[in-house]
Amino acid sequence: MTATPLLEVRHLSKNFGPVQALSDLSMMVRAGEVVALAGDNGAGKTTLIKAISGVYQPSGGEILLKGKAVSFASPQEARDQGIETIYQDLALADNLTIGANIFLGREPMRRAFGILPVLDRAKMAEAAKSTMALLDFHVSRLEAPVSNFSGGQRQAVAIGRAVYWNAQILIMDEPTAALGVPEQRKVIQLIHQLKAQGRGVIFISHNLQDIFAVADRIVVLRRGVRAGERRIAETTHDEVVKLMVGG
C-alpha cells in the first residue's frame, strides 16, 4: 500500500491503575476501508476506541492522523479533526427534527425582515434531505421529530450528522446491537455507503455475520492485546472465533 493511512495507531497502551486494559496495540484504517474490532467482553475494544476518540488519554504509544501524530484532550478535539463516534442512544434529541439534530449546537441563522436573527429552518431541512439522501435514506418527513423514526433511521440520522460535518473516520460501538434484523441490515448498508464515499470506519461487533458482510479487515483483541488481524476475504468464521477465545 502506498497511500498514507487515514488513521494509524502505534503501540497504544492504556491502564486504569493496575488494570492493563490495552497494551502495545497497533492497527490502521485506510480511506474507504472498514475495520471491525472483535473480541470477548473485557478484551479492550471500547477502551481502544475511546482512546482514539479522545475520551481516554493513552498511557503509551501514538495516534497518527494522515501520517501526523495527534493527541486529543477531549472528544470535541477529536471531532474537530474529523473523528466522530456514533453512540447508540446518547446521540439524538428525540423531540427535534432531523435537521435540528444535524445542526444541534451549531444552528444556522438567517435574518427575518432583514434584521431579526432567526433559526434557518429551511436550510436545516434542506441539509437533512440531501445528507440523508447521500446515505440512501429518502425521508419525506422533515418536520417530524426523530422520535417518529425507527431505530435504523435514527442511527442513520446520527451518522448523517457526522457525515454532514465532514467526519473522515467514523467509529461505532456495536451499532447493530439494539436493532431488529431488518434494521441491522440497514445499518450495514449505511456502512457500505460510508465506505463508498471514501471514509474510514471502525466498528465493534459481536456479530460475525455483520462483520463478514461489511468489513475489509478484522482486528481481534484478547485481554488487551492484539490476538490477530485478518483480511475478511482470507479468513473464516472458525478462524476468527479461535482467535477470540485463544488457544
Binding site: A91, A93, L96, R106, M109, L119, F137, N148, Q189
Partner: protein, 347 residues
C-alpha cells in the same frame, strides 16, 4: 453487494400525514378547550341572563387583566419546564419584586420625578428578581441540586426576604404614573396588557426562533446529546433560571402598579396557576415539549374558568375544583398522545 435505496412506503407516508394532523390538533388542544369553555359560558349566560358573556368588552378586559400575572410567571415557567426542570420560587420572587418596586419608586420619586422613578424602580425590581434566579441557576447547574429542591429552598428564602423588606405589611406606592401604568388604557387597552403582550411575543421568539430556545428543547429531551453536541449546559441553565426570575420580577412590578402597593404574598397563589397554565398548554413535565402559544391558551383557560364561574354566580371554591380537573385531564391527554404518536414507527 449493492445497497437498495430506502423508500418510505406510500401507506406509511399516508399514516404519517394523519399522524401529523393529529399532532397539530393535539398541539392546539388548549385553544380548542378555551373555545369550548367560552362557548359554554356564552350559552349559560344567554340562557340564564339573556346577555352575552364573550361580546362584553368588560368581561374580555377583566379576563385579560386577570391573566396577566399568571401568564408572565407561566412564560418563564414554560422555558424551565421544557428544560426538564421546574421553578417553585417564582411566586415569592414576584412578591419580592413587587415590594422592591414599591420601596424604590417611593424613594426615587422626590428626586427623579414621577416617570423616571417608575422606570428606575421597575428596572431595580427586575434586576433584584434576577438574583434569586441566578442562585437557582447556580444550584441546578453547578451544584447539581434537583430543580424541585433548589427552587423550593429559594421559595423560602425569597418569601422571608420579601416579608422582611415589606415589614410584614403591604407597601403603598405614591406615584400617579405608576398607578396609571397599572390601571389606565390606551385606545381602550390597558397598559399592563400591552406590556404583557409585547413580553409574551418576545418570549415566543426566544423559544421558537433562537439557539437558546432550540437548546432548551434539546436539553429537556436528552441532556447528554446536547452536551455531546457542544452545548454548554451549565451556562444555559444559569441563564434559564435568571430568565424565569426576571419574568417573575416583571409580574411583580405590574402587580405593584395595578394595586399601587407591593405585597410579599402577591404571587403566592399564582405559582401553581402558572404551572397549571404550562401543563394545560401542552407542555410535558418530563421536559422536551411545550410552547409559549400553548401556555397563553393555558393561562386564558384558567382565567376564563375563574372569572366565568364568578360571572355565573357559582361559589368561588368551584374554581379550585374546575382548574384541578382541567389539569388532570390535560396530563391524561398528554400521556395518551405520547403513547399514540410518540411510539416509534417501524416499517
Amino acid at each position: 453487494m449493492t445497497s437498495s435505496p430506502e423508500h418510505v412506503a406510500p401507506e406509511a407516508d399516508h399514516a404519517d400525514k394523519a399522524r401529523t394532523v393529529l399532532q397539530r390538533v393535539a398541539d392546539l388542544r388548549a385553544w380548542l378547550f378555551l373555545a369550548f369553555l367560552i362557548l359554554g359560558f356564552e350559552i349559560w349566560s344567554r340562557v340564564s341572563f339573556g346577555g352575552t358573556f364573550l361580546f362584553n368588552p368588560f368581561n374580555i378586559q377583566s379576563i385579560a387583566v386577570f391573566a396577566v400575572a399568571p401568564l408572565l410567571l407561566a412564560t418563564g415557567q414554560t422555558f424551565v419546564i421544557i428544560s426538564g426542570g421546574i421553578d417553585l420560587s417564582m411566586g415569592f420572587i414576584m412578591g419580592l419584586a413587587a415590594v422592591v418596586a414599591a420601596h424604590v419608586i417611593n424613594w426615587a420619586t422626590p428626586g427623579m420625578g414621577l416617570g423616571f422613578a417608575v422606570i428606575f424602580g421597575a428596572l431595580v425590581a427586575v434586576l433584584v428578581a434576577a438574583i434569586p434566579g441566578l442562585v437557582n441557576g447556580m444550584l441546578v447547574a453547578f451544584l447539581k441540586v434537583p430543580p424541585f429542591i433548589g427552587t423550593l429552598g429559594m421559595f423560602g428564602v425569597a418569601r422571608g426576604v420579601a416579608f422582611l423588606l415589606a415589614g410584614g405589611t403591604t407597601v403603598p406606592v405614591k406615584n400617579e404614573v405608576f398607578a396609571a401604568l397599572g390601571n389606565s388604557r390606551l385606545y381602550g387597552v390597558p397598559y399592563i396588557i400591552m406590556v404583557t403582550a409585547v413580553f409574551v411575543v418576545i418570549m415566543h421568539y426566544l423559544l421558537s426562533q433562537t439557539k437558546f430556545g432550540q437548546h432548551n428543547y434539546a436539553i429537556g429531551a436528552n441532556a447528554q446529546a446536547a452536551r455531546r453536541a457542544g452545548i454548554n449546559i451549565k451556562w444555559h441553565l444559569l441563564r434559564l433560571y435568571v430568565l424565569s426570575g426576571m419574568c417573575a420580577g416583571l409580574a411583580g412590578v405590574l402587580y405593584a402598579a395595578r394595586f399601587s402597593a407591593g405585597a410579599a404574598q402577591a404571587g403566592e397563589p399564582l405559582l401553581l396557576d402558572s404551572v397549571a397554565a404550562v401543563v394545560i398548554g401542552g407542555a410535558s413535565l418530563f421536559g422536551g415539549s411545550g410552547t409559549i402559544l400553548g401556555t397563553v391558551a393555558g393561562a386564558l383557560v384558567i382565567a376564563v374558568i375563574q372569572y366565568g364561574l364568578v360571572f355565573i354566580n357559582v361559589a368561588p371554591f368551584w374554581q379550585f375544583i374546575s382548574v384541578g380537573v382541567v389539569i388532570i385531564i390535560s396530563v391524561l391527554i398528554d400521556q395518551a398522545q405520547r403513547r399514540f404518536s410518540g411510539g416509534r414507527q417501524s416499517e
